[in-house]
Structures are given as structure tokens and as C-alpha cells.
């Protein structure tokens, strides 16, 4: 892996304002400027309302900045339309959420297959890859279980398998350990670290988890929409 040779995310003077010009105007991000190297493990920390989830949503192409520019793998997301953004989300980004966000009517296997099918993989190919990813996550015997039949840790591993489905460049985690017990949380972080180190995925997490320092190689500290600290863990 040519880790660290290029920037996978670049944010230049990013502002995010909700309801601009109105009474209830909220400035969420204030002149954010940073670059993330490919293959890095970055954590974004900060108190509630500091704008860290909004920043993650922008990196995840779910939101566009109000001003400034954000480049994902060299592409200026401000210039892309809805479908192009969707394609980038599918191809280059894998999401992991605090609430896992698995689709409850689908089995573990089908949840992963869905991500592959959306990106145009054939049914057989999707099933094959989904199965091997879930096996890699230690869920080989849980393929046909629905989320309600799985523990929190297992659900999060299904979600990670889904995030990896289309072999993205970046994995974004929004409090991925927020809903699971300490021990399982540790395992999830170890898994992410493994994926980062051995497979070269760029990992960006928003978290409150105090153990994160152990895993990250860089931590950005946000307060009131501004970066107050940016450095090695």
C-alpha cells in the first residue's frame, strides 16, 4: 500500500451554515481546513454540537458545504449532483453507524448483498463477496440471521462487512462503539485498526470513546465548529 503518499480527503475553508440569513441561522462549521492522507486513521472528537457529525456527513458526501471546497479522492463534491454523490458514497465510502442501521427485514447476508447490488454487482457475485466478507468478520454461521437475532457487536460487524462490500477507500464511523459494551467495543476498534493497517483502508471516526487514542494516528478536536487541536494521538 502506498500509504501516506496522497491526500484522500481535502477540506479547504469549509463553512456549514443552516438556515442562512434567517433568525434561526446556525453556523455549524467555521472555516475548517485539513487534509487526510490515504491510509490514515483519524478520529474527530469534541463535545455535542461541536459539528463533528456534520463534518463526517460532508466527508461522506451526504451533505455539501455551504462554502469552501471538499475533495474526496480528488473530486470536488460541491460540483457533483445528487446521483454522482450517491455513486461516490457507494464506491469510495463505507459507513458505520452507532445504531448499525441494518435493514431489519433482511438477513445479515442480504444486508451486505444489497450494498453490492446497488452498485451493480450481479446476484451471484454479490452473494459470493458478501459471504466471504461476513466470514472474514467471523459471522460465517450467522449469514441467515436477521439483525434482531444478532447481538450489538455482531450487528456492527455486519455493518462493517457492508461498509467494506464495494471495497471503498474510506470507512467513516459515527460513534461505532457508542452502543456496544466496552469489551465488544474494543474488538470493533481492533478490527478497524486491522483493516487500516493490513488492508490500507482510510478510517475516519467521530467518537467519544476515550480509548480511541490507542488506535488513531491523528486526532482532530472540534469545538463550536472550529478545529482547536489537530495532532498525533
Amino acid at each position: 500500500m502506498n500509504k501516506g503518499n496522497r491526500y484522500i480527503v481535502k477540506a479547504e475553508n469549509v463553512f456549514k451554515v443552516y438556515n442562512p440569513g434567517q433568525e434561526n441561522e446556525v453556523k455549524v462549521l467555521n472555516n475548517i481546513d485539513f487534509k487526510i492522507r490515504e491510509g490514515g486513521f483519524l478520529s474527530i472528537i469534541g463535545p455535542s454540537g461541536s459539528g463533528k457529525t456534520t463534518l463526517l456527513d460532508i466527508i461522506g458526501c451526504l451533505l455539501k458545504p455551504s462554502s469552501g471546497r471538499v475533495f474526496i479522492d480528488g473530486m470536488d463534491i460541491g460540483k457533483l449532483d445528487d446521483s454522482e454523490l450517491a455513486r461516490i458514497r457507494g464506491k469510495k465510502i463505507g459507513f458505520i453507524f452507532q445504531q448499525y442501521n441494518l435493514i431489519h427485514s433482511l438477513t445479515a447476508l442480504e444486508n451486505v448483498v444489497l450494498a453490492l447490488r446497488i452498485m451493480g454487482k450481479s446476484k451471484q457475485e454479490a452473494r459470493r463477496r458478501a459471504k466471504s466478507l461476513l466470514e472474514m468478520m467471523g459471522l460465517g454461521k450467522r449469514l441467515d440471521h436477521t439483525p434482531s437475532q444478532l447481538s450489538g457487536g455482531e450487528q456492527q460487524r455486519v455493518a462493517i462487512a457492508r461498509a467494506l462490500a464495494n471495497d471503498p477507500k474510506i470507512i467513516l464511523g459515527d460513534e461505532p462503539t457508542g452502543n456496544i459494551d466496552t469489551k465488544t467495543g474494543e474488538k470493533i476498534l481492533e478490527l478497524l485498526k486491522h483493516l487500516n493497517r493490513e488492508k490500507g483502508y482510510t478510517i475516519i471516526l467521530v467518537t467519544h470513546d476515550p480509548r480511541i487514542g490507542k488506535y488513531s494516528d491523528r486526532i482532530i478536536h472540534l469545538i463550536d465548529g472550529e478545529i482547536v487541536k489537530d495532532g498525533k494521538a
Binding site: 456527513d57 451526504l62 446521483s83 450517491a86 457507494g90 446497488i118
Partner: protein, 380 residues
């Protein structure tokens, strides 16, 4: 996508079943009501074979349309002199006077027969060349107190050659049964010599006459000439009847299919309601789909497939039910009307169901497609 759609509609079983029921009832109404007008259409078309290339003549006021014709028939009294007048019009090959009688004290649907008096020699003008006898013989010159009956009458009253049939206190010996023709007047007809019927009705006059032109091309002109020759007569040609009948049938079609369509549209609103609920419930899921790469178009498609699926299932059951309804109507009408579900009607009903699903689904699908993924993902 289809398998996911199937699974999604199974998630709220009761709601899906109720929605399917809504569409089903609507489509069943469209099909069964439509089958009535289709059946009438076919029946009318068959009946026109009787009047094609001929002129029907009545005496009295030329009341408008087919309804007028029905009234005219009961009051019309054509005299022998008027028959002579018709024969004298140039281009007329023959004139076939006729009278009819039916027992008006009984519901026609239950009665199932109508007596038709005709000159035995000219029977073919009424019956048509290609209609055959099922059993026995045709009427012949000099026949008296005998009848030939249509297949429906024979079946309904379990009659055969040799039996007798009572028309207004007079008994007629059945000498022949006519093969089923699908022409109502013949299948339900008890055809007797006109002179017998005149005596029975105590009348010297005829109710109507068929004028047969030498050349079919001259039908319209001859009809005009007959009306010119005797102002008390009025004529209807097959062409005119066909035109009026198709107008009436069109109106009946609009009313019957329209009624069904209203029911079906209510079903379509049910689909819309169901899909709006489904989209609300699945906001988060839609957010997830978008986060993992689904475009707005894919989300739109997913919801549309689900609503189309619901309405297609409803539509298919509805068509089956409508066919059953058509069968029931035919049974009830006892030969008066054969409700027919034509392929066009069935396919049209299914297409209509699909349209309802798509139209009912488009708004919720559009709402789903336009959901902001950030909001949807964090929806509790």
C-alpha cells in the same frame, strides 16, 4: 429489487392485504361491469346480422332512436295497403311483414321467449341463410298452428319436436328446433305463421316489415322512397340502427366502466396511503440505502415496484373475481345477456390496475427519493 419489494410488502401483512382488497374490488367491478357492456356489444353485433342490408319499417311517429323503435313496435300497425305501397317502390325485392308477441305480465328475463309471426315462405329473410335447424323441419307454406323454436326456448322449457307450446291460450305444435345462433331474437324466438298470430292478437295489421332491396347498395335510397311514398311509415336501416346502437352502447360502457373505475380509483388511493405510510416508517432504511450508494432514481424505483406489485396482485385477483361475476350475471340473466370478459377487457383491467399502482405510488416514491439522507439516517 423485486425480491426486496416482495419482502417489504409482506412486512405489514394486514395493511397490504387491505390495500390489495381495495384494488381487487375495484378491478372486479371494472371487469364484471365491463363484461356486461362487452356482452351487449357482441349481442348487438350479432343482432345486426338480422337487419344488415334490410330496411325495418314501422307505422306511426318516427320516434328517436332504438328506444323509439321499441315503443313504435308495440303501437305500430301496418296495413295490407301499406305493404303493397312498399312493394311498389322501385328496387324493392320483397317485403316481409312481421308481428311479435310476448307475455308482458312476466319479467322477460324469466320468461325467456318471444313469439314472432312471419310468413313461412319468407322465413329465410328473417332467419338468415346460414342458420340451421337443430332438429325437425322449418316452417312451410300452408303451415298452421305449428311453431319452430329457438334453442334457448327448447332448453329452458325442456321442449322437443312433437311437444306443444302455448302462446296466449293457443297451442302450437313444435315442428322444429333452430340451432343456436347467438342471435337473441332467434334463440329466444317461438316462430309461428303470421296468419296464426294475427288471429291470436285479433289484428289485421302487422307490427313491422322487413323490406329487402334488390341491391344492398340502394338500401338508404329505398328507405327514403318508402317514407316519401307513405308519410305514415318510417324506416330504419341497419346502418342507422348500428350507429344508434353503438352510441347507446358507448354510453352504457362509459357508465358501467366508469362506475368500476371509480371503485378502482378509491383502491388506488388506498395504495397511495399505504405507500405513504411505508415510506414514513422506512425513512431510516431509505437513508441507509442512500448512504450505501442508492441514487434517488433507485429509491423511486423501489417504492414504485412495491406499489405496482400490490396493485398487480389486486388486479389479477380482481380479474378472476370479475370473471366469476360475469359468469354470475350470465346465469342470472338466463340467456338474455351473456356477459363476456374479452382479452382486451382483461388486459385493459390489468393495465388499469398497474396504472393505479404507479400513479398511487408516484407521490410517495417521489417523497422517498427526495428524502434528505442525513435527516433520514437519524430519524428515530
Amino acid at each position: 429489487m423485486l425480491d426486496i419489494a416482495f419482502r417489504n410488502i409482506k412486512r405489514q401483512k394486514t395493511r397490504t392485504i387491505l390495500t390489495v382488497l381495495g384494488i381487487m374490488i375495484g378491478i372486479a367491478a371494472v371487469v364484471s361491469l365491463g363484461s356486461i357492456s362487452q356482452g351487449m356489444n357482441i349481442m348487438m353485433e350479432k343482432s345486426f346480422e338480422l337487419v344488415a342490408g334490410r330496411i325495418m319499417v314501422f307505422q306511426g311517429e318516427g320516434a328517436a332512436g332504438i328506444a323509439g323503435m321499441m315503443t313504435a313496435m308495440s303501437t305500430s300497425e301496418i296495413t295490407e295497403e301499406q305493404i303493397e305501397t312498399m312493394i311498389s317502390v322501385s328496387g324493392v325485392k320483397d317485403v316481409v311483414p312481421m308481428s311479435m308477441y310476448m307475455d308482458t305480465s312476466v319479467n322477460m328475463m324469466q320468461l325467456g321467449w318471444v313469439a314472432i309471426g312471419i310468413d313461412p315462405v319468407r322465413l329465410n329473410y328473417f332467419k338468415g341463410e346460414n342458420i340451421l335447424m337443430y332438429d325437425g323441419r322449418e316452417l312451410e307454406e300452408g303451415d298452421s298452428d305449428v311453431a319452430i323454436i329457438g334453442k334457448d326456448v327448447a332448453d329452458k322449457y325442456n321442449l322437443e319436436v312433437g311437444d306443444s307450446f302455448t302462446v296466449k291460450e293457443a297451442d302450437f305444435d313444435i315442428v322444429g328446433v333452430i340451432e343456436r345462433s347467438d342471435i337473441q331474437d332467434i334463440d329466444m324466438g317461438v316462430i309461428v305463421p303470421i296468419e296464426d298470430l294475427k288471429v291470436l292478437l285479433d289484428k289485421d295489421t302487422y307490427q313491422m316489415a322487413f323490406v329487402i332491396p334488390e341491391d344492398v347498395k340502394d338500401t338508404e335510397i329505398i328507405a327514403e322512397h318508402i317514407e316519401d311514398a307513405d308519410e305514415d311509415l318510417y324506416t330504419m336501416t341497419g346502418k342507422e340502427i348500428a350507429r344508434q346502437a353503438s352510441e347507446i352502447l358507448d354510453q352504457i360502457s362509459i357508465v358501467t366502466i366508469g362506475l368500476g373505475a371509480i371503485a378502482a380509483i378509491v383502491g388506488g388511493l388506498g395504495v397511495m396511503n399505504t405507500m405513504i405510510m411505508a415510506v414514513l416508517e422506512r425513512r431510516r432504511e431509505i437513508g441507509v440505502m442512500k448512504a450505501i450508494g442508492a441514487t434517488n432514481g433507485m429509491v423511486l424505483q423501489q417504492i414504485l415496484i412495491e406499489s405496482a406489485l400490490i396493485s398487480l396482485i389486486g388486479g389479477m385477483i380482481g380479474i378472476a373475481l370479475g370473471m366469476l361475476g360475469a359468469f354470475g350475471i350470465t346465469m342470472y340473466a338466463g340467456g338474455m345477456l351473456k356477459a363476456v370478459v374479452t382479452p382486451v377487457l382483461a388486459v385493459g383491467a390489468l393495465a388499469f390496475a398497474l396504472c393505479l399502482g404507479l400513479v398511487g405510488g408516484i407521490y410517495p416514491a417521489w417523497k422517498a427519493a427526495k428524502l434528505d439522507p442525513v435527516e433520514a439516517l437519524r430519524y428515530e
